[in-house]
Amino acid sequence: MAAAVAASWNPLRMSGTPLPIPVLLLAKLVALSLLLTNHQRLLPDPFLPFIPIDALAFSKAFQWTMKAVFIAAAIALLFNRAVRLSALVLGSTILLAVVSSKAYYGNNKTMCGIALVLAGLWEPKLGTAFLRLQFALVYFGAGLNKLLDPDWQTGQFFHHWAGSRLQQPVYLTLSPLLPDLALAKLFCYSTIAIELALAVMLLYRPALPWALWLNVLFQASLLEFTGTTFTMFFYVMEAMVLAFVTWPRELLVLFDGDCGICNDIRRWWGRMDFDRVSDWQPFQRGAGDRFGIAREALEQRVHVAVDGRIYAGFRACKMVLLYNPAMYLVLAALIALPPESWRTWRRLLVAGVMAFFFPAFNFVGELVYNWVARNRYRFSNQGACTVDISRGTQSR
């Protein structure tokens, strides 16, 4: 892995900056989503501010300055220029906009601003402690507020929101089959329980991986249910997860060097792996010997060693994808670029990604992988496999 390289102008590259890859990835994902959703058009002139800055005589100048700084900081961040300062400036600009106008104020904008500021303030001694506290605080506030709200206790909020406002077909179909408000209550209390549980789990380090998964599922299910990203909320809450990922020091891909398609994929992936996270080695060179993987297993399936932990087949492919930062930026762009009305697109895309990466999908993924592996010699005219893969598979 590249660690001490100069910062690149390539926006899909993350290494070589003062911020670690996961924290920079969080900041870049938020910046990219803000730019692609044309957020700068919403930045306000001072109007009913929380702090007395509307006394500024040049309110239009204030607004245009904010827009210019916002765009410059977001672009600088994406192109790896002074990333720490860029994140701080971009986040501070959003927070300044939030406190300068009640018309602009919103939870999603506040969260974007704080996430960027905390990313910019990252420092090695504390790691992601402040980001984790922030994450927990959001869920604690949200859960507590709902828990104490009578309309959430009775289910009235959800009944009105899903039934009248969203006219959500699943809710409208199932709700009449159950006692009055029963389904609405179930949704209300499930939401409260998930949010409060997340607040606790995020603070309890051993439960952190589960909390991150639960957050991803929770935010994705909200998108599936409503078809919306709640402006910026979906992007920033999903991007937060990545800040806590431990990026591997070594990701070794052990592939079949005699296989044409395997070499094609290695070359193609090499062009996509801008941070040179993964190191592809033909198993025939003995690169897997130190992990003690049986040669027969290596002949049958691709293996990936992530800091010494071994994955094979479909799981190995997922690891290679998950540890490529560029993938997340491309995914965010695919969600954010289409107009707001493309709800079906967002639902299908997010559902597809969730299914692909969710462990429960491994069974299907392995079936597809094994079929491809068995037929790999047919997919490339550049040589064929010399190994017998018709026998059963085995992985460690």
């Binding site: 506040t110 604690f140 959430w152």
Partner: protein
């Protein structure tokens, strides 16, 4: 102590305070209550004897004449009330705001208060 801890800790402490403060007031600013309330409202505004159009209401209050807000109902009321107090103290303004929170029976708020 590294200077970066100070603003980071201050941000978190402010939010903790806001979460607690929100328990004592009807508004829900900075307490992480997204989409916790659905307020449907319609505003009728007369300024110095003339009724404002939907466009004029949008320009004056930065809110549509008729809309839905997913924050506290107090946020909508604040927008109308504070605009009058802060920017249009000299106008003879009459506002009638009819609203429904989470589908409940309609409520009404008026300016100036009676």
């Amino acid at each position: 102590m590294n200077w970066r801890w100070v603003p980071a800790a201050a941000l978190l402490l402010f939010q903790m305070g806001a979460i607690l403060y929100a328990r004592t007031v009807p508004s829900r600013y900075f307490c992480w209550a997204p989409f916790d309330m659905q307020t449907e409202y319609t505003a009728d505004v007369t300024v110095n004897g003339r009724e404002l159009t939907a466009r004029e209401i949008q320009q004056r209050y930065r809110r549509p004449k008729k809309g839905v807000d997913n924050r506290s109902v107090q946020h909508v009321i604040d927008m109308f009330e504070q605009t009058e107090r802060r920017y249009h103290g000299g106008d003879d303004t009459r506002i009638t705001l009819r609203y429904r929170v989470n589908g409940h029976r309609p409520g009404e708020w008026q300016w100036p208060p009676r």
